[in-house]
Amino acid sequence: MSGIVGLTAAQLAERLGAGEVSSVEATSAHLDRIAAVDGDVNAFLHVSDHALEVARSIDDRRAAGEELGPLAGVPLAIKDVLVTTDMPSTSGSRILEGYMSPYDATVVARSRAAGLVPLGKTNMDEFAMGSSTEHSAFGPTRNPWDLSRIPGGSGGGSAAAVAAFEAPLALGSDTGGSIRQPAHVTGTVGVKPTYGAVSRYGSIALASSLDQVGPVSRTVLDAGLLQDIVQGHDRFDSTSLTTQWPSMAEAAREGARGDVLDGLRVGIVRQLGGEGFQAGVRQRFTETVEMLQAAGAEVVEVDAPHFEYAVAAYYLILPAEASSNLAKFDSVRFGLRVEPAGATSEQMMSATREAGFGPEVKRRIILGTYALSSGYYAAYYGSAQKVRTLIQRDFSAAFAQVDVLVSPTAPTTAFPLGERVNDPLAMYLNDVTTIPANLAGIPGISVPIGLAPEDSLPVGLQIMAPAYRDDRLYRVGAAVEALVENALGGTLISRAPALGGAR
């Protein structure tokens, strides 16, 4: 991809700073790209009608000599789970169609303050429940690498937007892999920070003990630049950590020099590979591990015996928390109202929720209500919380032996749209690799490592680090990115189809 939209956020920021490109030019170029390709991709639910105005104000401030942040003037796509005052926020649901938030999510407010230019809101599975965006009430997003395939989920819109060069950067949210798995299937980068590193204030809650907001981009450095802007304590989020975080962009720059791999202890999780993993995914993963070894890393296999219970625990904890979080959609204070003639308030609520929620949301609310019912609570929700402890212990034991853990980010490449949408269990199993990090609160990144030979679709490497060590992920992630680029003779994303009539 050539021209302004082909630049990474870091490259674009440099040209903006040097006065070679204006924010209006950069923003127009991306709006033109959206107009050209989003009919095919459907990454955006809403495109801002005043992005150019915002861009002009950044240009004016720069012209007036104001000292601006490193990403000032760079366009940004925002997952629709994050509320915004100037664009509707639906979380992919009919029940919130047209909802205009009276306040901005903290990450949105921080992005605006840093001079980023919001381009629009990106598509997602309804209330972030899904791995394909097919559960969006507003139609699926398509994978820019193959429009007949899923872009991952729930944040398929944000990943597809950066993969299709409609935006250099996006914000996402990751409850069980919703940032990392879309990155894997679209050949992009996605980071789930440590639980509590980035504020969730204004992120429409799915499962509060698992949700984490994070960056989506085409390079590790770009993700770091965005995390630097949004991370840090927020008094409006009581789970927000007061940690003083180092610069993730600086960590990425250090990592790109490569020497971080020399002597790095890397663990391969035995339970996150093997049977059920596509041959081409395994092949690219093995090759990448060999490259790490050649660069001086010490690679060992580690055992995480309780990971086989992670998906089961997740699909108890998530529905339980979601059934509680989604109780607020009762047609009283906001959202859709369906009021049959003569209905009581309660009948109105039941009619509204029947009409406003899609099938996957109903499935999970009912499942969560079941898991929390008297008589079942200890057996299901209580047991799942114990599994969480066991998984944390597995991680602690593993991180006593190694610095980072690696796995393929997902078991397969992008599957065809429609293949699993009516088979909830098959869809759930797709998250087997990403769920453990959410259950334990640790950070994870997905970095593109190549195309699977059998279908020429992207494969990602997931790297996980102990809680609070997001900087290590950026360091190692950037080193892996540099190795892969060197081996491929260029970036993976440069091999993506052109789109917009050029294919």
Binding site: L316, R333, R353, K362, A467
Partner: protein, 99 residues
């Protein structure tokens, strides 16, 4: 076999305030049956000696000074209400005729 029956699904739907159609009850009964069977395995390892984890990174007594900060105006708070009157959210009758 799981204990998910159409009657249980109807009961759960009523607790969840979702007015499911009959076809939805039928499909959910079979889907939830399969899902519950597959997730019940958590009980295999959840022994008495394992403590439960509710939050991955536990914090205690998170508080902030009790000071009035920025809050929504009444107009903002009501701006998305499907119906309102006199500065309040308005809903239909809480109790039906037979109650």
């Amino acid at each position: 076999m799981s204990d998910i029956t159409p009657e249980l699904v109807r009961h759960l739907a009523s607790l969840s305030r979702i007015d499911l159609h009959d076809e939805e009850v039928t499909s959910l009964t079979s889907e939830l049956g399969q899902i519950v069977e597959s997730i019940a395995k958590v009980q295999e390892v959840a022994t008495d000696d394992v403590v439960a984890t509710s939050h991955p990174i536990p914090l205690q007594n998170v508080s902030r000074p009790d000071e009035v900060g920025e809050t929504l105006t009444q107009e903002q708070a009501l701006s998305n209400a499907p119906d309102s009157a006199d500065g309040r959210f308005r809903v239909p009758a809480i109790l039906g005729g037979e109650q």
